[in-house]
Structures are given as C-alpha cells and as structure tokens.
Amino acid sequence: MTRRPFQHGEADGLGADLEPTVADLERYRAESAAEPSRGFADRVVHMVESEPIPRRGVLAWLATAFSSERGRMALMAATVAVAVLAVLATGQLARLMPSQFGGTPQPSQSIPASPDPSLPVSSSPSPTVSPSPSESPSADPSASDSDDDSGLPDASDDPDESPSPTDDNSGPGGGDGIGGNSGPGGGSSSPEAGY
C-alpha cells in the first residue's frame, strides 16, 4: 500500500489553477493524522469472534448483500415486487379463467355464434323466444318483491354470477354493469371490441 502525499504529476491535465485546491486537501490530510484509541484491534477481533467463518463465492456475495440493513430492505422490496407481480398475474388468470368456464363467457360465445342472423331463416329460435316471455309472468310472483329489478331478474342472476367478472373488468364493466346487462356486455366487452 502506498501512503504518500499527492504529486501534481500524478494526474494528467491538472492545471495550475487546481493547485490551491490540492494544497487544501493535502493540508487537511496532514492535520488529521490521528490514530485509533488503544485496544481498537482487540475490540474488532472480539467483535468478529462471534461471526461465522466467512464464505466464498456466491454464498459470500449473498451473505454480504443481505447482511446490511440496506440489503435487507432491497430484499424486502424485491419480495414485495414479486408478490405484486404474482397478484397481477393471478388477476389476469382469474380474468381469463371465467371467460372459459363461467356464465359470462357464454354470451361471448353466443355472439361469435352470430350465425344467429343466419338462423332466423330457420325460425327455430323464434319459437324458443316466445315461450320465455310466457314464462316470465309465472316467474313474476316469485320475483314480485324484486320488481324493482323487474328488468333485471334475468340479468340479476347474471350479475350475481358475473360480479366477479365485472369486478375483473371493473374499469370497463363498471358503468355498463346493470344497464348493459350487459353483463353479458361486460363479458362481451371484448367481443364488442372485437366488432
């Protein structure tokens, strides 16, 4: 180890205008040539006695990196970041899963089955539609309390099932929610977008 005063030729390109600055730093260095108190080395060695033998390689790097408070904070931050990413990824999965297995997706599949327009020709769907209104009156009594939702009952079931999807779509589906019934719509938002 070299312990020596600064020589001006050490660093290339140091102008004479920097000499006073160097002189100040050198003066400060010379005036602060103190020594540690007696027994300093003993205290350090004593502190180290309780430490395990240092490790080599990657283990040493990891042990060093996470031994300090800053290292532990970095580890914690990384853990939180991974957890957030995992939650987001899970959310995306949850958003995709119901679209394949839940009730909402059916509409979305029925829409792509837009061959319906072509079906009207077969007229088989129309009979199926007419009976459903006839059943609705019979359903009224049972659902009479829910007249408020009179238009919703059909949809209310959907929303009951679809809340999770609508929550997933919270952004887009939020407003559409009921009116759009669209729950289907909510679910079908992507199909709509597809259109």
């Binding site: 660093a11 020594e35 108190s37």
Partner: protein
Amino acid sequence: MAAATWHDGAVDDRGLADAVLAGDRDAFRILVEREQVAVFRVCLRILGRPHDAEDVAQESFVMAYRALGTYRGDGALGGWLMRIATRQAFRRLGQRRETSELPAELPAELPMGSPGSDPVAVTLAGEWQREVRLAVAGLREPYREVVALRFFGELSLHEIASVTQRPLNTVKTHLRRGLERLRPILGREVAA
C-alpha cells in the same frame, strides 16, 4: 497451508485472505493491526469525529470480514478495505445529516487539528476542516469516491484504479473533475 505461511510475513494479501477464510482468526488480527490506522484515518477525515470514525472503522472491519470471500485478490487488500470504509463513512455521514447537523460537532473535531492555544485559531481551524469535509462529501459519485480515496485514504491512482476496477485514465479524469468541482469552495483561504 496458507495459514502456516502468513506468519512468515512473506505472504501476499491473497494468502492472508485465504488464511482468514480457512478460519484463522490470528490472520484477521494481523490484517486489522496492519490497516487500522489507515482505515481509522479515512473515516475520521470523512466524519470529523473520532468517536464516529472509530465506530465506522469497526463496522468496516466486520463488514470486510463477512465479505472477505468476495475479495478476488487482484488488488491490495488494504485498498479493498479502504473502499469499504470510505463507503461506510459517507453512508454514516448521510445518516447524520438526515437526523440533524449537530452544532456540537466542532468541539469533537478540535483534537484532530493543530490548534495551538489560541481559541480563535482553534475555531477557525475547526470551521475550515468542516468546510473541507462538507465540500468533498458534497461531490457526486464517482468524483467523491476518487477524491476521498486519494486524499483521505492516501491510495495511489493505480491502487484506486485497481480497487474500483476502472481504467487508470478514467480515474485520472474523475480526480480532475472532482478537483475542478471543489475549486470554487476550497483553495480560497490557504493563508488562513
């Protein structure tokens, strides 16, 4: 094997580090006794308070012990240790600033100067020392590190290049730029 050779005094830093890694505590004591003054001084020059400097120097040795397995042996062990101490000292200085800049700092500094008996000179010397410390501490990295290692740690530019794993010319440039940034603050009152 390595542990048996460093006692001869003919072993290099790598051998000393290997001995410590093999569990030889005496080898670590040799390292501490060899480097304690330099490490303490660099901490004192950055922090200004002997008590804090000793505290940080101890921390630095313990940290170096834990991290000794990462020492590659391509530079001086003392320089490697000096870099750890410099970083620790600047970190402590930052923490001290965050809590409070204590006005009680001055009296603790006085023993490190050469104040004589004139209280006015003592006060002026303390003020000037504080100014130098704050000026260097206020530099941006990597200029601060290079200036501190050269003038506070007394490493040569070659050693700094080795320790920081930067080309020598880069270190020289960093030093020059650091000094240029210090010029408006230092070098004004050399006559004082």
